[in-house]
């Protein structure tokens, strides 16, 4: 079973050289720490930055330079700044190669719910609806089951949707799964030490399992 950093590490392996990538808040942010050597990626922050760098050194924080999570960050050589309309313009026109974000629920047809729980204070969708509606390649990083032990990989989402038919891949602490065009979670890889049966039990939506499901290779 993977911890959060393990999930991030596994997702980092999906990143190809030359990708422009948008990372959501939470586990996705950690992915930046595991991008393989020799792989050049440019991180987009939807508040208006391409080429997001690491956190600043203490004392060098700049209130004018933050990411979409409102964290102080830095720029890199080759960074560019733009306004919010252009930022979502490039998202909408699919110039971003990969979007990685968290989810509360994902359904077997690629729907995602990650912004609203009825009865709870709703903070808003931020840029998530724009991202999932437009991104050509979306990977969800999340826990396989919620705190109540219920599967987050469902036949149908029960929570209000963020987007429909848009998620291509899910990486959890248990598994890597592709969402098939015809519907269903195709189990691609097991986390180290996790059995197919365990994943079956933790998956409420349709799970498609091949004869041989390899264990993830993380390094």
């Amino acid at each position: 079973m993977l911890d959060k950093n393990g999930i991030a590490k596994r997702i980092a392996k999906e990143i190809r050289d030359g990708y422009y990538v948008n990372l959501g808040i939470g586990i996705p942010t950690l992915v930046a720490n595991y991008i393989p050597e020799g792989i050049n990626v440019v991180l987009q922050s939807e508040n208006g930055l391409l080429g997001m760098g690491p956190f600043p050194f203490e004392g060098e924080e700049d209130a004018d330079l933050i990411n979409a999570g409102k964290q102080t960050i830095t720029t890199l050589a080759g960074s560019s700044i733009f306004d919010s309309a252009m930022s979502f313009g490039m998202i909408r026109s699919q110039k971003i190669d990969l979007t990685i974000l968290g989810a509360m629920e994902v359904s077997e047809n690629g729907d995602i719910a990650n912004w609203k729980i009825p009865g709870k204070m709703v903070k808003g969708m931020g840029g998530a609806m724009d991202l999932v509606a437009s991104a050509k390649n979306i990977i969800v990083a999340m826990q396989h089951v919620n705190k109540a032990g219920e599967s987050k990989l469902l036949t149908q989402c029960s929570l209000p949707l963020t987007g429909v038919n848009c998620i291509k891949k899910v990486v959890t602490e248990l598994a890597v799964l592709d969402i098939l065009p015809e519907g269903g979670f195709k189990l691609l890889e097991r986390a180290p030490g996790v059995s197919v049966d365990y994943i079956k039990q933790a998956t409420s939506g349709k799970l498609v399992v091949a004869d041989d499901v390899p264990e993830m290779i993380l390094d």
Binding site: E61, T72, I81, G126, G127, M129, P160
Partner: protein
């Protein structure tokens, strides 16, 4: 060149009355029109409809206006870093319309570019689409979203000249340029007000034609919401 300078925030917002729709630039607390917000709080204007990506925090930004019950409705993409906001929302004192961030930005741009409506796929198949026209282009569904109609836009720039030209600094640019284009009356506060000619025409982000009033602000706090750092070595 036309001189658009006013003496300060109080004069700039003099005619923002109760019930007006105002846009406020900024993302989180980054690039917000601090001086204009203070002046609105001082003026005590009420029942405002505020279009802003976020709603500030309890003791800063739009949170200061919320505390004084000046806001009737927020149109935002992400709110609630703010206990008072949550209280007013749950008690029904405050109305909130949540819209996708890209839709928010593009509806501003649409106003500034004279386009009455735009199409975006954001929100298709979700509750955001309820009651909206859906249209299919090349096999993909889009929502038709309307340009905003705001009485005033309050923006914060780094530098500005007396002709109203604005230059933003780093990610404090965010929603400011698109809102500057979208206000019927656009008020810009700047950290440094310079003479026309001091800004390179090629570096101007918002041409002066979009800005009606400009002043040099003061006492910028520029608060940081999430101070994330690394240590040397």
């Amino acid at each position: 060149m036309i001189n658009k300078v006013v003496s300060g925030a109080d004069e700039a917002i003099r005619d923002i009355g109760d019930g007006k729709t105002i846009m406020l630039g900024g993302f989180g607390l980054c690039g917000i029109p601090e001086n204009c917000i203070s002046a609105l709080v001082k003026k005590g204007v009420k029942d405002l409809i505020c279009i802003s990506n976020n709603a500030g925090v309890d003791d800063f930004g739009i949170g200061l206006m919320l505390k004084k019950h000046q806001v009737k409705k927020m149109i935002s993409s992400y709110v609630g870093e703010n206990a008072e906001f949550e209280r007013q929302l749950l008690s029904g004192e405050l109305e909130v319309e949540l819209i996708p961030q890209g839709t928010l930005a593009t509806r501003c741009m649409a106003a500034g570019y004279g386009m009455p409506a735009i199409f975006t796929p954001a929100g298709v198949g979700t509750e955001v689409a309820e009651g909206k026209e859906i249209r299919n282009f090349n096999g993909k569904d889009y929502l038709m979203e309307y340009a905003f109609d705001a009485d005033f836009a309050l923006v914060k720039a780094w530098k500005g000249d007396k002709a109203g030209n604005l230059v933003f600094r780093s990610t404090s640019r965010n929603f400011n340029p698109v809102m500057a284009m979208a206000g019927k009356i656009t008020i810009a506060e700047v950290e440094e007000l310079v003479e026309p000619g001091e800004l390179d025409p090629d570096h101007i982000h918002t041409p002066g034609v979009y800005v009606h009033r400009i002043f040099q602000g003061s006492d910028y706090e520029k608060r940081i919401e999430q101070r994330t750092v690394r240590t040397k070595n």
